[in-house]
């Protein structure tokens, strides 16, 4: 049968894709909506905010036009539920501005009339921070998706906050550059949201934090004032570095409308290895040696356990390159010369297999194979959703104890749960510990929280490595931050947003 060969392949071996927030496109096993947040968490009370009325809607429609103001409950549904299907608000108003001016006018109006606002990017956040808790107006940045400039020489990108991460990466490729961060949600997450949550991701090991890569930010304060700190300069020590107020503050201090980012050169040579090992200790050994023997070319070092990969292979039918092993390591190298890198990698792999630290594995530099292998790591979160309900945790622990949380929790939960497993950025000491059950259970939740946070706190770890605080974790911040620090955060919030209209009920206890 004559056909375009490539088209045939596309159908049977889907490329890694972003995960669309829309229910219509998800095709998941069970499209059941979670309970309304206000019902599941009755102790959280709606604040003293105004209720949306026709006058408010008229203002928005006059400002944005009919098409960019959503008011129908069914249209608003996807904006009300988070990606993990943990929480659900009941907002009946979604605004879609196209310019910073419009954002400014919206916030100024909301501030004046005491209307609560929930800023939203790609809605891929995992701590319930990107959707309304009650009926807050959703301020979606999705239409602010223009690239303003790319400087080939300095590698500096300036763009609007609604640009999707994968799109930015594709455009930058034309300039020989790449985004300094990468995460599984890249097909849907927006850079404004990434910055607001100080997203980490798969390449933090090599390219560092957004705290370092973001050179400038333009944000709009709660009262509508536009704060232009968008200097696209690597060095600019002129006064307090205000941009840091918005990096990681999860929309509580302002809405990020533009970003200037330092982008590294796109590597000429990328290699990916997938290894099977017997024990967690083998992973640590492999990591130590990889740092030494691969050093400057190591760009990512991830770990997956048997149950996590089982979810991806079982629910999403992604194939593993090797047989079953209790643990897997996925590491990537990026460099400027493929021949050099391959020599280093092959020597490393020969040695580490020769002495039995690693039992089996594969290595490749072919884009199609690398994408297929990355799917085994990047689609784990998506796969868990097919189990039913996902209790997801994101903690930093000392490396030696990285996997201990899973062992301890397995004992605590036994066979009352479907899965109790962990995977994640072992290179950064950050494990995504996850429990899945068929349905939400208050009992299971009680057995996990606050134990998991106490356990983390005792080991002086972080109760939220990269996902942030959002709605699910304000009451646990004290496990990782001092009272004085939390107090100062509250002062800053009062200063920047006296009426508390930006993302209320979240981030701060």
């Amino acid at each position: 049968m004559l056909s375009r060969g490539v088209k045939q392949l596309g159908r049977l071996r889907p490329c890694s894709q972003g995960i669309l927030p829309s229910f219509a496109c998800r095709g998941f096993a069970s499209p059941t909506l979670p309970e309304l947040t206000k019902d599941r968490y009755p102790h959280v009370k709606r604040g003293e905010f105004a209720k949306l009325d026709q006058n408010h809607l008229k203002f928005f429609r006059d400002l944005l036009g009919e098409n960019r103001v959503l008011n129908d409950p069914s249209d608003c549904e996807i904006y009300n539920v988070d990606w993990n299907r943990n929480v659900r608000g009941y907002s009946d108003c979604v605004l879609k501005p196209k310019t910073t001016q419009e954002v400014s006018q919206i916030l100024s109006f909301c501030n004046e009339h005491r209307l609560a606002v929930s800023p939203q990017g790609g809605n891929t956040g995992l701590v319930g921070g990107s959707v309304p808790v009650f009926d807050e107006i959703v301020l979606s940045l999705s239409l602010m998706n223009n690239i303003i400039s790319v400087d080939d020489t300095s590698g500096i990108l300036v763009c609007e906050g609604g640009c999707v991460l994968e799109y930015l990466d594709e455009q930058l490729a034309n300039h020989g550059l790449m985004m300094p961060l990468d995460l599984g949600a890249k097909g849907s997450c927006q850079i404004g949201g990434n910055v607001s949550t100080n997203a980490g991701g798969l390449r933090l090991l090599r390219y560092g934090n957004l705290q370092g890569n973001v050179l400038g930010i333009e944000a709009v304060k709660a009262n509508g004032e536009i704060l232009d700190c968008l200097s696209a300069l690597k060095k600019d020590n002129t006064g307090f570095h205000l941009k840091h107020l918005f990096i990681g503050s999860e929309g509580a201090l302002g809405v990020v409308t533009k970003v200037a980012i330092q982008c590294p050169a796109k590597p000429q040579a990328v290699n990916l290895a997938f290894l099977g090992v017997k024990s967690f200790d083998n992973i640590l050994t492999t990591f130590r040696r990889a740092k030494r023997e691969l050093g400057e070319i190591l760009s990512s070092f991830e770990m997956i356990d048997e149950q996590s990969i089982g979810a991806v292979m079982g629910h999403l039918k992604v194939k593993s390159p090797i047989d079953n092993h209790p643990f897997y390591v996925l590491f990537e190298t990026q460099g400027s010369n493929d021949a050099h890198d391959q020599e280093k990698i092959h020597r490393f792999l020969e040695n580490i297999m020769g002495d039995g630290t690693v039992l089996d594995g594969t290595v490749t530099n072919e884009p199609s194979k690398m994408r297929a292998i990355w799917d085994l790591r990047e689609r784990i979160a998506e796969a868990f959703l097919h189990d039913g309900y996902v209790f997801k945790y994101d903690i930093t622990l000392p490396l030696e104890k990285f996997y201990s949380i899973v062992d301890v929790m397995r004992e605590r939960l036994g066979s009352d749960v479907l899965r109790c497993c962990g995977y994640g950025h072992i290179g950064d000491g950050n494990i995504h510990f996850t429990v899945t059950t068929k349905e939400f259970s208050k009992d299971i939740l009680k057995r996990i929280e606050p134990f998991v946070y106490e356990f983390t706190s005792e080991l002086k770890g972080s109760i939220s490595a990269e996902h942030g605080i959002g709605f699910r974790k304000p009451q646990y911040i004290h496990y990782s931050k001092s009272d004085a620090a939390i107090h100062l955060m509250k002062e800053l919030k009062k200063l920047m947003d006296p009426k508390g209209i930006l993302n209320p009920y979240k981030v701060l206890p």
């Binding site: 049968m1 375009r4 060969g5 392949l9 530099n365 199609s368 194979k369």
Partner: protein
């Protein structure tokens, strides 16, 4: 047990976005990631499975192309082929290398190596020619089983299920035979580390078309290579009457 020859082609990796050169003479290949043609991976996989079932004794991987084609032969060796033959064709000769040349090359090697089966992918994802298997069979005057989605080997013959437009056709062919692999024949294995290491020691012989007595003079000239036309945006119509009017206007009704 059969001796098997597998043809493998180095093509641009199917996950890479293809770009046409500004002068329209071809696509950009410099600095672009290449890998083994996916249908050839399926061909190698089938050969290796035959060997694992003790139905094949030796697998020879052959590739025609510049020096980099050796990488694709190494992958074949890592998947389980025993030895490789690199037919060096580079520069202008490679740009105009066509299935008619490749089939003569494969046929000659098949005769030299006294193979019983030639397996290739049904088509390459760069030119979509779908000719090499058929032409090779013709040159050798061997039976051909193309678009194979299942192969069963008997003593002196094979039973092959073919994917055809009308459904599935099952045929029997006497050995020696040429087979072309279709998508559903199997799912190729990843080359695992121990095999990747072993493959480094397997031999790759180098020959030229001249050594094989094959003339690779160009039989075609590429006139131009262009992007497919940009898809026109759709038009949203207010009601069914407008739709009918538009359809009539376009001569569709």
């Amino acid at each position: 047990m059969a001796r098997v020859l597998v043809g493998v082609k180095r093509v641009i990796d199917y996950a890479v976005k293809i770009r046409v050169k500004p002068d329209k003479s071809g696509v950009v290949t410099d600095g672009v990631k290449h890998s083994m043609n996916p249908f050839d991976e399926i061909a190698i996989e089938e050969a290796v499975r035959l060997k694992e079932k003790k139905l094949a004794s030796e697998i020879i991987a052959v590739s025609c192309g510049p020096t980099q084609s050796q990488e694709v032969i190494r992958t074949a060796l890592a998947m389980g082929a025993d030895k490789g033959i690199h037919v060096e064709v580079s520069g202008k000769d490679y740009e105009t290398l066509q299935p008619i040349h490749v089939s003569k090359i494969l046929a000659k090697i098949a005769q030299n190596e006294k193979v019983d089966m030639v397996i290739v992918g049904k088509q390459a994802i760069d030119d979509d020619s779908n000719q090499t298997a058929q032409m090779t069979a013709a040159v050798l005057d061997w039976p051909q089983a193309t678009f194979a989605s299942k192969v069963e080997k008997g003593d002196k013959e094979i039973t092959v299920t073919r994917e055809v437009d009308g459904g599935l056709e099952t045929i029997k062919c006497k050995l020696p035979v040429v087979i072309s692999a279709d998508l559903r024949l199997n799912e190729p294995r990843y080359a695992t580390l121990p095999n990747i290491m072993k493959a480094k020691k397997k031999p790759i012989a180098k020959v030229t078309p001249k050594d094989l007595g094959v003339d690779v003079s160009p039989r075609i000239t590429v006139v131009s290579v262009e992007d497919p036309p940009v898809r026109e945006p759709g038009v949203i119509l207010p009601d069914v009457d407008a739709l009918v009017a538009k359809l009539k206007e376009g001569g569709h009704v």
